[in-house]
C-alpha cells in the first residue's frame, strides 16, 4: 500500500512515555498537520518516522510503514538510503541543517549523486533547477553561495529544494516557518503545498492558523496523544475535542475577538494524569474522564473525548 501508516507508535525516554500510542496515515498528494504545544510529542512523532530521534529517546512500540516497508525494523543502512531519498525532511532552522562550509548548490547536488548516482555535472544542473523551482532568484549564482550568505527565507527554500531533489514520496516538515516573518511564511507554505502534488506531507506546527492554511487534515496532539483528527474545515468550524476548541479560541484572530486563554500550563507527558490528559484544564470534565480516552468517530473526524461536540467553539 502506498503512503505512510503509523500504528500504536510509542516513543520513550527513560522513565517516561513521551508519545503514547498514536495512529496516523497519510496518502501521497495529501498534507496532514500535526498540531500541538510544547511537550505534545508532535516533533518526536515526526522524527520517529525516519528514526532521527534525539539521544535518549527511542521507539518503544508500534509500527511505521512507508509504501509497505516497516521502518521500525529497518537497518541504519536502509534508513540512510530512505532519508533524503524516499523521505525528505525540512527542519525549523535551516542554518543548522545546512553544512556552513559547503556551497548550497553542492549540498543539493550531493544528495542527488548519493541517492541516484548522477554525474557531477548532471547533479549540479539539477540543483540549479531545484533552486529555481523553489523561487530562489538568480539560482546559478545562489548555488555558489554559502548558507550564511542567504536570507532566512532563502535558506528555507534551499532546504526545501534539497528535501525534494530526489522526488520523495513523503515530505516531513518540522515547524519549517516558525522562525520566518509572516509574509515569507505564506510563501514557504505555498511551496510545501506545491510539493504535495507528488508526495504525502506531514507538517508539524504549534500554529493552528498555518495548519489550517496548508493542510487537508489536522491531527491535534496533547501530552503525547492525538486528541482529535479531522478534515481541516470541520476541525476548525466544529472542533469536537475541548482542547481543539480551546486552542482555536486562543489562536490570534483578525475579527477583533479577544483571545480566550486556557487556564494552567500545557500538561507534560511526565505529569500525564489518569484518563484524559486535558481533564485538569477542561471546562467540560466529568468523572467519566478518568477512563481511557479513545479516538472515536465524532463529527466528520475522530475525537478522544467523553463529551465531544463543538460546545466551546468561538
Amino acid at each position: 500500500m502506498s503512503g505512510l501508516t503509523i500504528e500504536g507508535l510509542q516513543v520513550s525516554a527513560p522513565g517516561v512515555t513521551l508519545v503514547d500510542g498514536i495512529d496516523l496515515s497519510i496518502a501521497p498528494g495529501k498534507v496532514l498537520g500535526l498540531v500541538g504545544e510544547s511537550g505534545s510529542g508532535k516533533s518526536l512523532s515526526l522524527l520517529s518516522i525516519p528514526r532521527l530521534l534525539p539521544t535518549g529517546c527511542q521507539i518503544s512500540g508500534g509500527s511505521v510503514r512507508l509504501n509497505g516497508q516497516d521502518l521500525t525494523g529497518a537497518s541504519e543502512r536502509e534508513l540512510r538510503a530512505l532519508r533524503g531519498g524516499e523521505i525528505g525532511v525540512i527542519f525549523q532552522d535551516p542554518f543548522k541543517s545546512l553544512n556552513p562550509v559547503r556551497r548550497v548548490g553542492d549540498l543539493i547536488a550531493e544528495s542527488a549523486r548519493r541517492h541516484r548516482g548522477l554525474s557531477a555535472s548532471a547533479a549540479r544542473q539539477e540543483a540549479i533547477d531545484a533552486l529555481a523551482a523553489v523561487g530562489v532568484p538568480d539560482p546559478e549564482r545562489r548555488a555558489r553561495a554559502f548558507p550564511h550568505q542567504l536570507s532566512g527565507g532563502q535558506r528555507q527554500r534551499a532546504l526545501i529544494a534539497m528535501a525534494l531533489i530526489n522526488q520523495p514520496s513523503l515530505l516531513l516538515a518540522d515547524e519549517p516557518t516558525t522562525a520566518l516573518d509572516p509574509t515569507v511564511q505564506v510563501q514557504i507554505l505555498d511551496l510545501i503545498r506545491a510539493a504535495a502534488q507528488r508526495a504525502g506531507v506531514i507538517f508539524v506546527t504549534h500554529d493552528l492558523g498555518a495548519a489550517a492554511y496548508l493542510c487537508d487534515e489536522i491531527a491535534v496532539m496533547y501530552a503525547g496523544r492525538i486528541v482529535e483528527w479531522a478534515p481541516t474545515a470541520s476541525l476548525i468550524a466544529a472542533p469536537q475535542h475541548p482542547y481543539t476548541a480551546a486552542l482555536l479560541a486562543c489562536t490570534p484572530r483578525l475579527d477583533g475577538v479577544r483571545p480566550r486563554a486556557i487556564a494552567g500550563n500545557p500538561t507534560s507527558p511526565q505529569d500525564r494524569p489518569v484518563g484524559c490528559a486535558f481533564r485538569p484544564r477542561c471546562e467540560r470534565a466529568v468523572s467519566a474522564c478518568i477512563g481511557p480516552p479513545m479516538l472515536l468517530a465524532h463529527g466528520e473526524g475522530l475525537a478522544a473525548c467523553f463529551r465531544p461536540g463543538p460546545g466551546l467553539a468561538a
Binding site: 505564506v186 479560541a249 490570534p252 477583533g256 483571545p259 500550563n265
Partner: protein, 265 residues
C-alpha cells in the same frame, strides 16, 4: 488624539554607523493606552522602542516623556526616568538569577530605590498575585518556572516601581499559543487595574489587533501606517499593511476563504 501623549517620538532618526535604523519615525502613546508596534525583522521596531526608552542615541528629531524633552538627557536624570518607564523582553530567563527567590527578584528594584526590606517583600508578594502567580511561589527560585511563568515574573518586576509606561519587546513570541493568550489577557487586566500604558512590539499583527487600542506598522525604519487597531485591520491604507494582514493566518478566516474559493470554482 484626545489627551497629551505620555511618551512620543517626533521625526526621530537613529544611525548605527553608516546604517540608518530609523528614518523620521513619529509615534506616541497616551496614558492608559496599549499601542502595538508591528513589523517584520529589520523593520526598526525594536530600535524605535529603544529610542522611546532613551536607550539609543537619537541623531535627529526628539523624544518626549510626560511633556519633557528627553532626547539628550544625562545619566542621573535618565535613571530617574527609568523608574517611570520599564521594559520587558522576549525571554526573561537570562535576567532572572537562579540563586534568588522570586520575591527577591521582584523586590530588587524596590530595594535599589531605597524601599526597606520588609515593605519591599510585602509588595513583591502583592505583585506576584497581581500577575497571577501563586503566593507560595514567592520563596521559590525561578529555575522551575515555565516560559509563561517567567514572563509573569518579569512583568511583576517591571511593575514594582509603579511605572506609567511598560515597553514590552516581543513578550509573547517565544510562548506556546495557550500561554500567549494568558499573557495577552494579563496585559489587558493590568492596564484596567493600574492604568499603566503599554507599548508592545510584535511581528504578529493578528495578536496585536486583539489587544492593542492603536497599531503602528513599521517597515525599513519608517512608520508606514498608524491608527486605531480596528481600522488598520479592516481598512489598511498602506499596501504593506495589507500584505501583512493578508499574511496573518487566522484559522477561521482561512477556512472560510477556502470554502468560498471552492464554491466559486
Amino acid at each position: 488624539m484626545t489627551q497629551a501623549p505620555l511618551a512620543a517620538l517626533q521625526d526621530v532618526s537613529v544611525r548605527y554607523g553608516a546604517f540608518q535604523a530609523l528614518r523620521g519615525v513619529s509615534l506616541h502613546v497616551a496614558p492608559g493606552e496599549i499601542v502595538g508596534l508591528v513589523g517584520e525583522s529589520g523593520s526598526g521596531k525594536t530600535t524605535a522602542v529603544r529610542a522611546l526608552m532613551g536607550l539609543v542615541p537619537i541623531s535627529e528629531g526628539r523624544a518626549t516623556f510626560e511633556g519633557r524633552d528627553i532626547t539628550h538627557l544625562a545619566g542621573g536624570a535618565r535613571r530617574d526616568l527609568w523608574r517611570r518607564m520599564q521594559m520587558v523582553f522576549q525571554d526573561p530567563g537570562a535576567s532572572l538569577s537562579p540563586r534568588m527567590s522570586l520575591a527577591d527578584i521582584i523586590a530588587e528594584p524596590l530595594r535599589a530605590h531605597g524601599v526597606p526590606k520588609a515593605g519591599a517583600m510585602l509588595r513583591a508578594r502583592e505583585l506576584l498575585s497581581q500577575v497571577g502567580l501563586p503566593a507560595d511561589a514567592a520563596d521559590r527560585p525561578p529555575t522551575a518556572l515555565s516560559g509563561g511563568q517567567r514572563q509573569r515574573v518579569a512583568i511583576a518586576r517591571a511593575l514594582a516601581l509603579e511605572p506609567v509606561l511598560v515597553v514590552a519587546d516581543e513578550p509573547m513570541s517565544a510562548l506556546d499559543v495557550s500561554v500567549k493568550a494568558q499573557i495577552a489577557a494579563l496585559f489587558l487586566r493590568l492596564r484596567a487595574s493600574t492604568g499603566v500604558s503599554f507599548v508592545i512590539v510584535s511581528h504578529d499583527l493578528a495578536l496585536m489587533s486583539q489587544i492593542a487600542d492603536r497599531i503602528v506598522v513599521m517597515r525599513n525604519g519608517q512608520v508606514v501606517e498608524e491608527g486605531p487597531a480596528r481600522d488598520v485591520i479592516a481598512a489598511p491604507r498602506d499596501a504593506y499593511t495589507r500584505e501583512l494582514r493578508d499574511a496573518c493566518l487566522d484559522p477561521v478566516k482561512v477556512v472560510a476563504t477556502r470554502a468560498l474559493e471552492r464554491a466559486a470554482s
